[in-house]
């Protein structure tokens, strides 16, 4: 049974992707019929035709969104909607950048400390909506949206008012020390010329940890129970408040790590002083939806979305304006996120059938 349901999930995601790609194809056809076919192939194969660098870039782009996807997906599994990923992301990034700039004396473990700082900062930031929900019964969605803006403005303020962090000519944070950049862990050799680094391994490891946490531990059992049925988890004596707070803190930690991995990637990313919420946080919602909140699914979904985004980048080689490319990529991602609805629909059908079947069996059993 379990297998069957999983396969429904996978199929519905696949179906959603196919629909998204088809709609993308339609837009390609409308915008430039003569190159639509070539454009479609570019979207599908772009990164692969650009050698190891192209593939490496996919992993690079996938790294932060896998983590924000895990963040949203994990919270969702426990019945919480973490729309606060953008805020946790930037707060984590800030902590990483501060440590990255100021603690050059740490040497070899510098990046690790920066990562840890980001994780803690993200966790604390994520715990706030959790606390507010647990003790004041404020909907986490509202609290999360508030912490998004507070986080963004706070980080902007802290950087722009701090001379040691702020590069005022470029209007963004200063470069972090070289030791703070995530080690390449050999990936620069395999994917020469791309920005991919050990952060991708960290993302994969995070997915594995979340998978084990959810599926193998009593803590995961509690969190999922609360996610499926809050009342039943209360009835079973689980500590609702503690679980909400911890769940949000873990989600926040994941987003915080995402921020660190992007800004410590050594690709020249800086925290810009702009009134814009981190897009990676929102993309995490798409990733979680497409990956059906399952850690393994999120991993694959993150890579897929990064792949499509990279494909869109290469689409510029053909005659499509960048705006159209943005629309096409957004449409594909958007439709992919609908996989959940497809699944709800399919399992709804199946459930109906099962209930009939169950009725029959129940009676059959009483025959003797």
């Amino acid at each position: 049974m379990k297998k069957k349901r999983d396969s429904i999930g996978f199929l519905s995601s696949l179906f959603a992707i196919v629909v998204g790609l088809l709609v993308g194809l339609v837009i390609l056809l409308i915008s430039n019929p003569s190159q639509a076919a070539a454009g479609f192939i570019t979207i599908l194969t772009g990164p692969l035709t650009h050698g190891s660098k192209g593939v490496g870039q996919v992993f690079y782009y996938a790294t932060p969104i896998i983590l924000t996807g895990l963040s949203v997906g994990f919270a969702f599994k426990t019945g919480l909607f973490n729309i606060g990923a953008p805020g946790q992301f930037i707060v984590g990034a800030f902590a990483a950048v501060v440590v990255g700039i100021k603690c050059g004396f740490l040497g070899g473990i510098h990046w690790l400390v920066a990562l840890l700082a980001a994780m803690i900062a993200g966790a604390l930031w994520g715990a706030i909506p959790g606390l507010v929900k647990a003790y004041f019964n404020v909907n986490e969605v509202i609290a999360c949206i508030m912490t998004n803006y507070i986080g963004m403005y706070m980080v902007n303020y802290l950087i722009s008012t701090n001379k040691s962090l702020y590069d005022k000519i470029y209007n963004y944070s200063k470069n972090v020390a070289g030791t703070a950049n995530i080690p390449k862990m050999g990936l620069d050799v395999i994917f020469e010329g791309s920005s991919v680094n050990g952060g991708f391994f960290i993302a994969v490891a995070a997915a594995a940890v979340i998978f084990i946490l959810l599926e193998k531990t009593t803590f995961g059992y509690e969190l999922k129970a609360a996610g499926f049925n809050k009342d039943a988890s209360r009835y079973a004596g689980m500590n609702e408040k503690r679980n909400i707070i911890l769940s949000m803190a873990i989600a926040g930690a994941l987003s915080g790590i995402a921020g660190a991995l992007l800004y410590l990637a050594g690709s020249g990313k800086h925290i810009e002083i702009a009134d814009v919420l981190a897009g990676e946080g929102f993309t995490g919602i798409s990733v979680a939806l497409l990956g059906l909140s399952n850690p393994v699914g999120v991993l694959l979904a993150g890579i897929f979305i990064a792949y499509i985004t990279a494909g869109g980048f290469y689409l510029q080689l053909l005659n499509f304006s960048t705006e159209i490319i943005d629309v096409i990529i957004a449409v594909i991602i958007y439709f992919s996120a609908f996989s959940l609805f497809v699944r709800v629909f399919i399992s709804g059908l199946r459930r109906k059938r099962e209930e009939h079947a169950a009725g029959g069996k129940g009676e059959g059993g009483k025959k003797e």
């Binding site: 729309i83 990313k269 929102f282 960048t322 958007y334």
Partner: protein, 409 residues
């Protein structure tokens, strides 16, 4: 049930985030697009511009600046996919009424006149690596000459100039350097800088000559370029006041500290107008949007734009202190093709090579004439007018004689 609700919320958030994503690149742009809507201006919302592209690519009429977005499709009909003349931009939009657009107009002008294929490429994210990747994509697409607008490209150009010695790079408003600010310009690279103080001078001079006595300067961040604009503006106003022998010219002077359109900036501009300020030189990216919004709400309030001709942004814009981006990019591109390309050193564009100026045709002056403009312009070119453009100095050390400066802290 709750779960269903959550997933609906999630989907809604995705929708919202997609739109947010569209807006990201041009945070300040949305405002300007709105303001333009009633002015019957050519700036469609970006998405529309893109969506229409396929249909009316052929109908792109010359003289319509924003139709620049449709150029790739134009070329596509006849030429190969690639283009030998490429513009590489950051994550902003091509019709940003600023560096991207100005540079693109210069490239297009040259491309159309000489039948050269041209195209622009946009970066996937705002990192040095991504800029390098985009430049490499342009090279993959056949680019021989690449123009990069904005100082964000200083490091990327530094990285690629040695790697692709056969490609010519034009860096607008910046000079290549590495992460530790070691400057080096290769022989195939031509950095372009502007003398903002001269543009500011012309604006300040014109304003006072046109009869304005209560002026304002609202800069973005106090970066050297912005300060030069400001000091030039003060000097120009002072020069005009001296020339005309008028007293009581006042300039309110302030840096907002960011290049964003903020309610604070708008409120401050509104209060200046309220207090009698007649015209504000809005010098800092989207800060201009705030000032224009305030001017539109006030009576008889005027704005001076910056960098590019911003008269299309709002009827309140009387003129703009311009960097002649398209001129200089055009010249730079031309030099590549006619063999006069001077790589390895920075080209400074100022009044003497028509690199800065006011758009007299589109300006709304009452008494300041083309002749007045030509006269003062010639004086700058000849060196008769010397502008104190040392950004290390305080306003009080500029040696202004007639103008009173009220610095807002």
């Amino acid at each position: 049930m709750k779960k269903r609700v959550i997933s609906l919320l999630m989907a809604a958030a995705v929708t919202a985030s997609l739109f947010a994503g569209c807006g990201n690149g041009d945070a300040g742009k949305d405002n300007s697009a709105e303001q333009n809507a009633d002015a019957g201006n050519d700036s469609n919302a970006d998405q529309n511009a893109g969506a229409d592209q396929g249909d009316d690519a052929g109908a792109a009429d010359a003289g319509n600046a924003v139709d620049g977005t449709e150029a790739p499709a134009d070329n596509g009909a006849g030429s190969a996919d690639g283009a030998e003349l490429a513009l590489v931009i950051d994550v902003g939009t091509i019709d940003d009424k600023s560096f991207n657009q100005g540079s693109w107009e210069g490239i297009q002008q040259y491309a159309e006149e000489n039948g050269v294929s041209s195209k622009y490429y946009k970066s996937a994210e705002a990192t040095t690596d991504a800029f390098v990747e985009t430049i490499e994509l342009a090279i993959e697409g056949g680019a021989k000459t690449i123009v990069c607008p904005g100082f964000l490209f200083e490091e990327p150009i530094f990285k690629v100039q040695g790697q692709y010695p056969d490609v010519h790079f034009v860096l607008v408003d910046g000079e290549p350097h590495d992460a530790d600010y070691n400057y080096e310009t290769a022989q195939n690279t031509m950095p372009i800088l502007y003398q903002e103080d001269e543009a500011g001078f012309l604006a300040g001079y014109a304003a006072v000559k046109d009869g304005y006595t209560k002026l304002g300067f609202m800069g973005g961040m106090a970066l050297p370029a912005v300060i030069r604009y400001g000091y030039g503006f003060l000097a120009g106003a002072d020069y005009a006041a001296t020339e005309m022998g008028v007293d009581g010219v006042e300039v309110t002077y302030y840096y907002t500290g960011s290049f964003d359109a903020t309610p604070e900036a708008q409120t401050m501009a509104a209060s200046w107008y309220q207090a009698g300020t007649e015209v504000i030189f809005a010098c800092g990216g989207s800060v201009g949007n705030s000032v224009m919004a305030a001017a539109e709400a006030a009576d008889n309030a005027k704005v001076i734009g910056v960098d590019v001709d911003q008269s299309s942004e709002s009827d309140t814009v009387i003129t703009s202190a311009m960097k002649m981006l398209s001129n200089s990019v055009y010249d730079a591109v031309k030099s590549v093709y006619d063999g006069s390309f001077k790589g390895g050193e920075t080209a400074v564009f100022n009044a003497s090579n028509d690199g800065v100026g006011l758009p007299m045709a589109g300006s709304k002056f009452q008494t300041f004439t083309q002749a007045d403009y030509d006269a003062v312009f010639a004086k700058i070119v000849s060196g008769e007018i010397k502008i104190n453009n040392d950004v290390e100095k305080e306003v009080s050390d500029l040696g202004l004689t007639k103008v009173t400066v009220k610095e807002v802290q």
